[in-house]
Amino acid sequence: MAPEDFDAIADLVAEWGLPTPHERFVKRARSSMAEIQAFHRRIEPQVGAIVAFLNQYPLDRIPDEHLPLAYTALAAIEVDDAVNIWKNTSPRYADDIAKWETKSSFYA
């Protein structure tokens, strides 16, 4: 597995490879179902290979140039249930998580 193996999804990485969990949530929640499905269709078959590729590095030493690829794989988690279970961009009745404060410790 080599970095160039993921060249075919470079456009997905550029669009969905957002660095924070909050940004990845917002991207999913604010996207249309068609956009989510288009991302999911192409990223789903690649997730196993991305994880295997990145597992060659210790987590804290993944080269910077591969971090967007890692974030894209994590964004795939965000959209998986939307496509497979909810058939919607958010689960029914869901509160808008974007208004919740993301904590940095148990205390704040």
Binding site: P21, E44, P45, V47, G48, V51, L54, N55, Y57, P58, L59, I62, A70, A73, L74, A76, I77, E78, D80, D81, N84, I85, W86, N88, S90, P91, R92, Y93, A94, D95, I97, K99, W100, E101, T102, K103, S104, S105, F106, Y107, A108
Partner: protein, 414 residues
């Protein structure tokens, strides 16, 4: 409608099981005023002992409903103490860093610079000579707060004299749960905080009953839970342990086989935090017999302990989630949710698994918090004076209610 109407009483304390309960403790402002006593005399979880592992390390906790701010600090002698975060000079708030944790050789008030040691003793008064009347430093130490530890959690109690010890508070729990929660290398991973327009008991109740899980969470948990999949255990003889909710994966209906999606499959291959993975309890079972998964079921997912008044500990095989609530008013509540995993991820695969577990739980939480404000608004509307609690799957709700009205009795329906 106002919130001080006279409420028809639900079943009395002695017969709460199976009967309707009053909505007064949820919506009455008069009840809430009396209920404030709870926060002055209960054991409240405010931190983890690992966060004050080193001498001079501290964290702070605010119990705003009773205007309390508390410092928990390990002294140079290695003893963990708690003090009111109040300078004995003119009541300055000593530690007001928004990070709420850190390390300091001395605790110095930012107001006039009075300096306290981490054992609470007053060490220095700037320009002490201006107190020509003299200052008895020994009498001006920080005001102590009762503190204790259990399962690696630090609890405080604001009472002058707590009516029972923290050890007594936790009576009834499996013996090995305490070392399991204290000794495993639980590592804080992520957390959320939000203020909801609901009573603190509304938030507790939706999280420790399983009846709603098949319905509200039909498209997130996406399975039908039978009563035995959300089993309730009550601890009527324990001063502090209210209930246990044990959640198990339902048995699929005949002819149905649950198959993970390709993305769920990747997550499962790199860890055990996803919801519907067979739970490997080998570490807990080997080193802490009986701490978790008491039935030794391969369908077990987690145990949720309700610790009176405001703490839920969701104990899994490799994940512990902690929910705390603190009231602002009868109609507003600060919610804290924190995830701990049993190790920090070392590979991206492990990270992928942890994120899968966190997101799955978060999506279900989003549904709970999408409706809770509406439930509370409805209870305030005056349409129903009582609510109905099932003996199975919702016994945890009745158990919490019993403890609340025992501590703060209803008065003439208010």
């Amino acid at each position: 409608m106002g919130d001080d109407r006279a409420f028809r009483l639900g079943a009395g304390l002695d017969s709460v099981a199976g009967g309707p309960i009053s909505v007064a403790p949820f919506v009455s402002d008069a009840y809430f005023e009396r209920e404030k006593a709870l926060w002055r005399q209960s054991w409240l979880a405010v931190g983890r002992e690992a966060d004050v592992a080193k001498p001079n390390s501290y964290f702070t906790a605010d119990i705003d409903v009773v205007h309390a701010s508390v410092i928990v600090v390990r002294g140079k002698d290695g003893v963990v103490r708690a003090f009111h975060n109040v300078c004995t000079h003119r009541a300055g708030r000593i530690l007001c860093d928004t990070a709420k944790k850190g390390r300091a050789a001395f605790l110095t008030s930012p107001f006039h610079g009075w300096v306290f040691d981490t054992d609470g003793e007053l060490r220095n008064i700037p320009k002490e000579g201006i107190f020509t009347q003299g200052c008895d430093k020994a009498a001006l130490a920080l005001k102590p707060v009762h503190v204790g530890t259990w399962g690696g959690f630090v609890f405080i109690n604001l009472a002058e004299t707590p009516d029972h010890s923290l050890e007594q508070h936790m009576a009834g729990l499996p013996a090995n749960l305490e070392p399991y929660l204290r000794e495993r290398p639980w590592t804080w991973y992520a957390g959320y905080r939000h203020v909801f327009d609901a009573n603190w008991k509304d938030l507790m109740n939706i999280q420790h009953e399983g009846y709603h899980a098949s319905v509200l969470h039909a498209d997130t948990l996406a399975v039908d839970f039978a009563p035995q999949d959300c089993a309730n255990t009550l601890f009527p003889d324990s001063p502090g342990v209210s209930s246990l909710l044990t959640v198990s994966r339902p048995v699929p209906p005949p002819g149905v086989t649950w198959a993970p999606t390709p993305i769920q499959d990747v997550a499962q291959r790199h860890g055990r935090t996803s919801n519907w993975v067979d739970n490997d309890t080998s570490v807990a079972s080997r080193d802490y017999p009986g701490a978790v998964n008491h039935e030794q079921s391969d369908r077990w997912v987690f145990d949720c302990y309700t610790i009176f008044p405001n703490l839920l500990i969701f104990v899994g095989a490799s994940v512990v989630s902690v929910m705390r609530v603190l009231p602002v008013s009868a109609h507003q509540t600060i919610w804290d949710w924190d995830w701990y995993f049993d190790h920090a991820p070392e590979t991206f695969g492990e990270k992928f698994n942890l994120e899968h577990g966190r997101i799955a739980t978060r999506n279900a939480l989003a549904q709970d918090w999408g409706i809770i404000d509406l439930v509370h608004a409805n209870m305030r509307a005056g349409v129903v004076d009582t609510i109905h609690i099932a003996n199975e799957m919702e016994a945890t709700v009745a158990a919490l209610y019993e403890r609340v009205v025992k501590a703060v009795p209803l008065q003439e329906g208010r």
